[in-house]
């Protein structure tokens, strides 16, 4: 594995999935629940730039170039900066975070991500008092993502968080899973993970993080505002118009299980939404 990974890293631009990450620590935020097998985590993906069927991203993202990479951090900040892959990986000590991951479609996984708190980016860029929201943007290239035109959503994919959500210790930038570099179909080389929100908030392959005063537009909300809100917190009490959110199917399990409010992370995040009407601000 190490040898293969070493060779792959010598060829510029080749996908580096399979390369081991080392020196990461365990996190108290990790769940001890049974982890979804690597095979399922890496072949059952929603990454519409690479096809709308779950099995397509694993195939069509195979040659996606993730090195060199440039992540631009700017907006209402004191220190705008552009990071290459090497600097992203060294931004903060890596941690393993085993999180529940709940998709708005009614299925869920448990994934051992590797990454660091998003707050590391906040600390680096030093947002001004004007910064109220964080806007994220995915990489987009018609050439590298030939199936983009079938996605049916406006691209590049964009997402957003409120500042206090972004600063919450549960929010991470992930650079790996299962002890290795993120496979392309999982959003290589760097993606957001906000485990108390539906999966589509956890934007993949990020090239830009912008701090701003106004609430940023988000892709699924633009595409269908009645069905997907800005907050999109996991909430069994608020149904999606087309299906109930009360239950979910954990991949690999036969029976459905009850969906937990904030995906079970209420203790860490519920206070962010105190006094808000979550039925209206879905």
């Amino acid at each position: 594995m190490l040898l293969a990974g070493g060779l792959a890293s010598l060829i510029p631009g080749r996908a580096k999935a399979g390369v081991k990450l080392t020196g990461y620590s365990k996190s108290a935020f990790s769940t001890s629940e049974k982890q979804t097998p690597y095979e399922a985590v890496t072949t059952y993906n929603n990454f519409y730039e690479f096809g709308t069927n779950k099995d397509e991203p694993a195939v069509h993202a195979r040659d996606f170039k993730t090195n060199p990479w440039a992540l631009r951090i700017d907006g209402e900040v004191a220190k705008p900066v552009t990071l290459d892959l090497d600097r992203i990986l060294k931004l903060a000590p890596l941690e393993e975070r085993i999180y529940r991951f709940r998709c708005v479609e009614g299925w869920s996984m448990v994934v051992p991500w590797i990454g660091f708190p998003l707050s590391a980016v906040i600390n680096l860029a030093a947002p001004t008092s004007k910064a109220k929201f964080v806007a994220f943007e995915s990489y987009f290239s018609e050439k590298q993502m030939p199936r983009w035109r079938y996605a049916g959503i406006p691209l590049p994919y964009v997402e957003g968080l409120r500042m206090d959500e972004a600063a919450n210790p549960l929010a991470i930038l992930a650079v790996g899973l299962y002890g290795e570099v993120l496979p392309n179909q999982n959003g290589a080389p760097v993606r957001l993970i906000v485990p108390w929100k539906y999966g589509f908030k956890s934007i993949k392959s990020i090239v830009r993080i912008r701090f701003q005063e106004r609430m940023p537009p988000t892709t699924w909300n633009i595409s269908n505002p009645r069905e997907y809100g800005f907050y999109s917190n996991v909430n069994p009490e608020v149904d999606h118009p087309r299906w109930s959110q009360a239950k979910e199917r954990r991949l690999g399990e036969f029976f459905k299980r009850d969906t937990l409010k904030f995906n079970g992370y209420g203790e860490q995040v519920a206070q962010l939404y105190a006094g808000m009407n979550l039925k209206r601000d879905y």
């Binding site: 709308t52 779950k54 049916g152 269908n224 087309r242 109930s244 199917r249």
Partner: protein
């Protein structure tokens, strides 16, 4: 060809062919090859085949005319019944493995979720057609009335297309494709209907 189409062998062959989607599904299940979300896969697969068989059933009349092969009528009932069969598997998968026979939840789903309302309507419309598919029922109802009843298949297919269209999140290619096939099947009927109107 004529003799083949009106013979026994062709009927057995078509019957067996119609079972391949199910056989492939069972084969994949046996090999543990139903993706990371098997129940979703089975639901999708049986649903798609229901729609395909409905469209195949609707293709019989235009194909008979186009190829001047009236013998094709021999396969129409079978194709229709297979549509019902796959529709039944589709509904069963939902009722059993998605809802675990929770009747209250199912009723709520049908009432509240337009795409399920459409799908359920499509299935209900197939039900009387499957029941009255026998020669006995054709006799009992009389050819004219039987035929009028069986026009429900157009609406059942339309409900299926809408069901699919409302289900997908953003990539509408396949539902639109099946909708276009339905439109084509209807369009090809126009001359038949027009000539009938003129002859009255």
């Amino acid at each position: 060809m004529r003799r083949f189409l009106s013979g026994r062998t062709s009927k057995i062959l078509v019957f067996a062919l119609c079972l391949t989607p199910l056989s492939m599904l069972l084969w994949r299940a046996y090999n543990g090859n139903l993706t990371a979300n098997p129940i979703e896969y089975v639901t999708r697969d049986t649903g798609t085949w229901t729609l395909r068989f409905l469209l195949l059933t609707l293709a019989v009349t235009p194909l008979r005319r186009m190829f001047k092969a009236p013998e094709l009528i021999r396969f129409r009932r079978m194709l229709g019944l297979y549509a019902f069969f796959y529709g039944f598997l589709h509904l069963t998968t939902y009722v059993w493995f998605d809802k675990f026979f929770d009747a209250a939840d199912i009723v709520k789903d049908i009432a509240k979720r337009p795409f399920i309302t459409a799908g359920f309507t499509g299935f209900l419309l197939m039900l009387p057609l499957a029941v009255t598919s026998t020669s006995g029922w054709i006799r009992r109802l009389g050819g004219k009335r039987w035929q009028r009843l069986h026009r429900l298949v157009y609406f059942s297919t339309l409900a299926g297309v809408i069901h699919y269209y409302w289900l997908v999140k953003s990539d509408i290619r396949l539902p639109v494709f099946y909708g276009a096939l339905l439109a084509l099947a209807m369009l090809l009927r126009l001359p038949i209907w027009l000539s009938r109107v003129r002859s009255v």
